[in-house]
């Protein structure tokens, strides 16, 4: 059976969406069928990356019980042969929809959790997809915690900011551990000058005071190439040999094997 991966962070702007999109593209390039869902209802962004002007149904509709998940998913599989299927589910970016989603009551959130949990059957079992990737809102939002409960593996993206690292360490013990989730930390946007060639993780742990209970999976250096791309294309598809794309391939293989 396939896997559900949630990408989460304590603070915003850590690179969750960039990593989600490129991780999904990496799996598709490896021939895996992948479904990427935008669960960041406060700041939807996948519609811009995949250049979708308007969708008939959004994930908001699926979670409200208006339609089935198959009505929401849009096929964005690149034309190149040998690649896996690549589907995306978008969050409604209109101000009205964002306002509406932030005012949902606990009963609605409970039902939304049920619908997220049922994706395992509908998408992984019935549609035979290999991976579902949840791109979530930062912090302790209802939609993010729902996504964490529904996921098999949680990738937590952190920057080098002290408050981000401290918040991430707290979430490990007070959130992910409580739901018994496989958790791995990805440290993103690390300045190149603090990255030694050897014992990278040990030195980073010492420098940023990262305790040993924090499962640091991978380190992604700060890259001007990614900043230059400005989210106008899927980086790992266009530049598969770039160090960033290679790091994502390592992350993808690690999740596949565990």
């Amino acid at each position: 059976m396939g896997k559900i991966i949630a990408l989460h962070s304590y603070k915003g702007g850590t690179g969750k969406t960039l990593i989600s999109v490129n991780l999904a593209a990496t799996y598709a390039r490896k021939g895996k069928d992948v479904c990427l869902l935008d669960l960041d209802f406060r700041a939807p962004s996948l519609h811009v990356i995949f250049r979708v002007d308007g969708a008939e149904y959004w994930l908001n509709d699926y979670l409200s019980g208006v339609c089935g998940i198959e009505k929401v998913l849009i096929d964005v599989t690149p034309k190149n042969p040998g690649k896996g299927k690549f589907l995306v589910g978008l969050a409604n970016p209109t101000t009205e929809a964002i306002r509406e989603m932030s005012a949902k009551d606990r009963k609605w959130e409970m039902r939304a959790l049920g619908r997220l949990l049922s994706l395992k059957n509908s998408v992984l079992n019935d549609m035979h997809m290999d991976y579902i990737i949840f791109d979530t809102s930062p912090g302790l939002q209802y939609s993010s915690i729902n996504a964490i409960v529904g996921a098999d593996t949680v990738l937590v993206i952190t920057g080098t900011d002290t408050s981000d690292i401290e918040g991430t360490q707290r979430m490990i013990h007070e959130l992910y551990d409580l739901f018994e989730k496989k958790t791995a930390i990805i440290m993103n946007k690390v300045p190149c000058e603090v990255l030694p060639s050897k014992n990278q993780k040990r030195i980073l742990r010492e420098r940023y005071n990262i305790n040993h209970t924090m499962p640091l999976m991978e380190v992604i250096p700060c890259s001007c190439d990614i900043l230059r791309a400005g989210g106008t294309y899927i980086f790992s598809e266009e530049k598969p040999d770039h160090p960033f794309s290679k790091t994502l391939a390592k992350i993808a293989s690690y999740i596949e094997a565990n």
Binding site: M110, L113, Y142, V149, F179
Partner: protein, 120 residues
């Protein structure tokens, strides 16, 4: 002989006192359980099992509740199979969640089904 007759009522009274003490202890436990349940019901009068509620539950009950959320509805047997805990243990936890107002229980034939919300 007189001495043993004098002692007998004292022994009987002593035994009655011990039994009363044991009863008192049991009553204290029951009152405490009742108080605890009332407190939980006051916090969550609508019995909604959302993620924030799941976070507030003790570890052993959270595991049962999350498993039930994944199934939608289920019996103690089905939950025990997924949590790898004994059926009797899961049955106890499920009934505790019913008492706390988070779950509902419905008998169908000989089996008891638990759910947070009736499925469409």
């Amino acid at each position: 002989m007189y001495k043993s007759l004098e002692k007998k009522p004292t022994i009987i009274l002593q035994k009655i006192k011990e039994s009363l003490d044991q009863l008192n202890d049991k009553m204290d436990v029951m009152i405490e359980i009742q108080r605890h349940n009332q407190k939980e019901t006051q916090i969550m009068p609508d019995g909604t099992l959302d993620v924030m509620t799941l976070l507030s539950l003790p570890d052993h009950l959270r595991k049962t509740a999350v498993t039930l959320c994944k199934l939608g509805e289920g019996t103690a047997d089905q939950i025990a199979e997924l949590t790898k805990r004994a059926r009797a243990v899961e049955s106890g936890y499920l009934n505790q969640l019913v008492l706390m107002g988070y779950l509902r229980k419905e008998r169908r034939g000989r089996k008891a089904y638990f759910y947070a919300e009736k499925q469409a």
